[in-house]
């Protein structure tokens, strides 16, 4: 069976999309081939790509579609055949329409009854013919992140498509894409393969294509380019006691930016090491796409002291004259000098002196300036910090200074360093460690200090409250202000710190600065937004099916939810039988109360006629009485689980719907009260019981 080679040749595709595009092209082609009976269900394409080409290769596809027998079902047999078995006019018409004689009609049984049918055998077409007709459509149907036009051909793609080669073994498939005919010519590396569009590499057969490209300085396989880059990074540092800072994202980008990668090592003046490492690494990694080099000590990779060296990946075979190294060193020096200039210029003023400048920086058109935000967040951070024993002064101070780096030259230039730079400037200004670290950590979700946690939570709550008040509520995939991420971070920080924060109160407080009387709708919208995030958080923590139960019991307090979920999980593991029985009984309890819409929890002991009722009341009272700091959630849950015989006996012996309305009311009150008392740690009735 012949091999199939499909290469779509483009001007440089964006590094962030090229892999996805290659996979999509291969998947769509494979699906198309399968539908055309040209690919086994379990066969896959080999997917390859470089910045300038997307390739799908199939090791073997049939040269010819297998023949096929189809049954064409026509009119019901009673219409197509007369009583004497002869074909009717309608029957003959159906046969003629399909180009077959009336005698070919036969009867076939279907689910709907007996029908007239025809059998059509088809030969199957040559794979080349099928491909020529269908392949362009598979490619044109790709879902593109951003499409462009480049000429009048009408075909749009991510970047201009300049050639394509499609070979079935040694034969070119005569497919056309927007006027561009497939051929056997591909293009070599744009500079190493010679400069000019006329230069082409001829592909003899599909199986030889990859080797032919290799001669043209193209490593088609991204895994091989990755290996080359990794080897290139390791070689110049071997034995130096230094190592490249691991950076998978950067590595992937460079694999997708090169066709023939090689590494060049450069160095910079060690005097620049006086600048914060964060700045140096940002320049090297984000702006220049270099790997930073660090002194390999026993610290974890990515944390050791930087060395005055870098590693650049070029799309070139070798830097024979040192020109590439020299050029990159020049650029880096200029960049570092810029950064140094900004750092020194910014240091002429303290962060604290910049607070007023924030009046000119808008946070959101309807929510005022960053100055306003800073004031709100400082207040909220202080209030939040006090009850949990965090340093409220430090939190408020950090909040006040947190956004000042927005006015610094360095952050205007390197926006991705916002927060981090604020922390570094605060440190240089002599702010306390608690304060500068809080500022530094404000955009992450693992603050090192309690003040940082208070700031991180307060800042995000303010943003959430403000934007919800302004009507900027995320919908579906639209979340331009990343509010989901903000809420996730609030939850994670709370849980990490083990803080019992009362969400509803905090939200109302944060909202009160935007709405004098916070509208209950906005509070509810925010709470239900948080509830979704809490569910997700608990799910990720491994408590997916218990989330609803613990959130219902403590909707305000994520730390408590987490503690309760752990206790509940423990109980389930220890005593699954009791857990399930209690859950079922409490669900039954809730259903009765809900069905009657019963609200009163009034219970008159004198009306508790059955001993089972009295026993239930006594047991629940005992649990309510024991509840307190010395009665941890697991003990309470265990006590509840131990109630199952009492609950079972109650439902066995007691009829809630007593003919005497007073007794009936008393029993409903008992259930409402007991149900609430037994749901303080977890609302068992929200637990889905398997097999229910």
């Amino acid at each position: 069976m012949p091999a199939l080679w499909i290469e779509l040749g483009c001007e440089e595709l964006p590094a962030r999309w090229v892999e996805g595009l290659a996979r999509q092209m291969a998947d769509r082609t494979a699906a198309g081939l399968r539908a055309a009976r040209l690919l086994a269900a379990d066969a896959e394409a080999e997917v390859r790509w470089t910045p300038r080409r997307l390739v799908a290769k199939f090791a073997a596809i049939p040269a010819q579609q297998p023949g096929q027998v189809e049954e064409l079902v026509g009119p019901p047999a009673a219409i197509a055949f007369a009583a004497d078995g002869r074909v009717t006019k309608q029957g003959a018409g159906f046969a003629a329409k399909n180009g077959m004689p009336a005698e070919a009609l036969y009867r076939t049984k279907t689910a709907k009854g007996e029908y007239a049918a025809l059998r059509r055998e088809s030969q199957g077409e040559a794979a080349a013919t099928v491909l020529a007709a269908a392949l362009p459509g598979w490619i044109e149907g790709m879902d593109l992140p951003k499409a462009m036009r480049w000429d009048g051909c009408g075909f749009k793609f991510v970047r201009p498509v300049r050639w394509w080669s499609v070979l079935l073994d040694g034969e070119v498939v005569a497919a056309k894409l927007g006027g561009l005919a497939a051929g056997r010519r591909t293009r070599p590396h744009p500079t190493l393969g010679g400069v000019g569009s006329g230069l082409a590499v001829e592909i003899a057969t599909a199986d030889e294509a990859e080797a032919a490209l290799a001669k043209g300085f193209v490593v088609l396989d991204p895994a091989e380019r990755r290996r080359r880059i990794i080897a290139g990074i390791e070689a110049p540092l071997a034995g130096s006691g230094r190592r490249a800072r691991p950076d998978d994202g950067l590595l992937a980008t460079l694999v997708n930016l090169t066709e023939w990668p090689a590494v060049v090592a450069g160095s910079f003046d060690a005097a620049f090491l006086r600048l914060p490492a964060e700045v140096l690494v940002t320049v090297m990694r984000d702006h220049q796409k270099y790997f930073a080099v660090e002194e390999a000590t026993d610290t974890a990779p990515g944390t050791a002291k930087l060395a005055p060296q870098f590693l650049a990946v070029m799309d070139l075979d070798a830097d024979r004259d040192g020109l590439v190294r020299h050029g990159n060193e020049r650029v880096l020096r200029a960049r570092f000098k810029d950064a140094e200039f900004f750092w020194q210029a910014d240091r002429k003023r303290s962060l604290a002196s910049r607070v007023d400048d924030l009046r000119a920086v808008t946070f959101h058109a309807r929510l005022g300036s960053y100055f306003d935000k800073t004031q709100r967040v400082a207040r909220l951070a202080r209030e939040l910090a006090e009850p949990v024993g965090a340093d409220a002064e430090a939190a408020a101070r950090a909040a006040l200074l947190a956004k000042c780096d927005l006015t610094t030259e360095l952050v205007k230039e390197f926006t991705e360093l916002q927060g981090v730079m604020g922390g570094l400037y605060a440190q240089a200004d002599g702010e306390s460690e608690e304060v500068w670290q809080a500022i530094y950590d404000q955009y992450g979700d693992q603050p090192r200090t309690a003040a940082g946690a208070a700031l991180g939570i307060a800042d995000r709550l303010d943003t959430l409250a403000g934007l919800f008040a302004a009507g900027e509520i995320p919908t579906g995939s639209r979340d331009p202000f990343a509010l989901r991420r903000a809420a996730n971070a609030v939850i994670r920080i709370c849980a990490e710190m083990g803080w019992h924060l009362m969400l509803r109160g905090l939200i109302s407080e944060a909202l009160a600065t935007f709405q004098p009387n916070p509208s209950p709708d906005t509070v509810d919208a925010l709470l239900s937004f948080f509830k979704e995030r809490q569910e997700r958080f608990l799910q990720e923590a491994g408590f997916g099916d218990l989330a609803a139960a613990v959130i219902a019991a403590a909707p305000d307090d994520i730390t408590q939810q987490l503690e309760h979920a752990k206790a509940l999980e423990h109980l389930r593991a220890q005593n699954r039988g009791a857990f399930l029985k209690v859950a079922a009984a409490l669900k039954r309890m809730r259903n009765i109360v809900h069905k009657e819409n019963w609200e009163s929890e009034a219970v008159n002991p004198a009306l508790l006629t059955a001993p089972e009722e009295r026993r239930l009341r006594a047991a629940v009272e005992a649990i309510a009485r024991d509840r307190g700091p010395s009665f941890p959630p697991l003990r309470e849950l265990t006590a509840i689980a131990d109630l199952w015989p009492i609950l079972d006996a109650f439902f066995e012996a007691v009829r809630v719907n007593d003919p005497n309305p007073a007794i009936r009311a008393n029993r409903l009150g008992l259930l409402a009260w007991a149900g609430r008392e037994l749901s303080q740690v977890a609302d068992f009735s929200q637990i889905v019981i398997p097999g229910e």
Binding site: W150, G152, V195, V324, H326, R330, T362
Partner: protein, 320 residues
Amino acid sequence: MNSSPTTLERPATARAEGAAPQPRRYFQDLLLELQRFWAQQGCAVLLPYDLEVGAGTMSPDTFLRVLGPAPCQVAYLQPSRRPTDGRYGENPNRLYKHTQLQVILKPPPADVQAVYLASLEAIGIDLKRHDIKFEEDNWESPTLGAWGLGWQVMLDGLEITQFTYFQQCGGVDLDPVSVELTYGLERIAAFLQDADSIYDIQWSPSFRYGDVRLADEQQMSAYNFEAADVGNLWKHFELYESECRALLKKNGDEAAAQDPRRPVLGAYELCLKCSHLFNLLDARGAISVTERVGVIQRVRGLAVGVARAWLAQHEDPAGR
């Protein structure tokens, strides 16, 4: 002459070991060679536009010529002013006014990338000894209602050219599409001469870049950041804006719209004035972030109006 700005460090410029000696390529050689190259490719070499612009794109030779169906191959130098980029001549890599070579290819030839690479060879860059990458960079000018997709071309880690397939200009979808190449000439010259400061670039045998331009950078930075009168800038902005609007107002029928004397170019100059005044106000810190969007919209409104009026004026009833 030859007075080195004392504020600058003068790093030792060491040519890489083993590098072949190259003939000195002065800044003026670079300007001449690139223009000659594109002339040989069939471009008309035009003149820089004689108003303040932030980029070669804003010259009517790009902004208006990319509109409509008429083919257009032009190249021109364009000094480009960006007030906020000024550094009083003290930063070795930043300029308030830099020099672009702008090339418009409409429609672009299918081998446009190869032709571009050949232009680098024409100025002495040996492509087999340097690392060239085309990295995604999508360009957008909100004030011009223009955007395109393309790359920044990187030479040994240095961005030397913006390479853009223009998709829209003045809010109008372009058909045919134009390729716009914008070379940053100071950067390329510094690279070719291995100068660590732009001001050290040798412009000609007798002039350094600093001799020609340092005073401009020092004084215009002072003007842009400190001296420009904010009240007057706003007044100028409003005057130019209202005059531009008045010119763009429809007066009469289709024939009037197609009148070749209708001063659409006059309106465009007023729009460019507004754009530059916006940049000056920005440099003076006189535009808050909130206002910003609104002012950009106002300039964009003018640019879109000009583009429409230009198309109406040049609409060919015969459909040629």
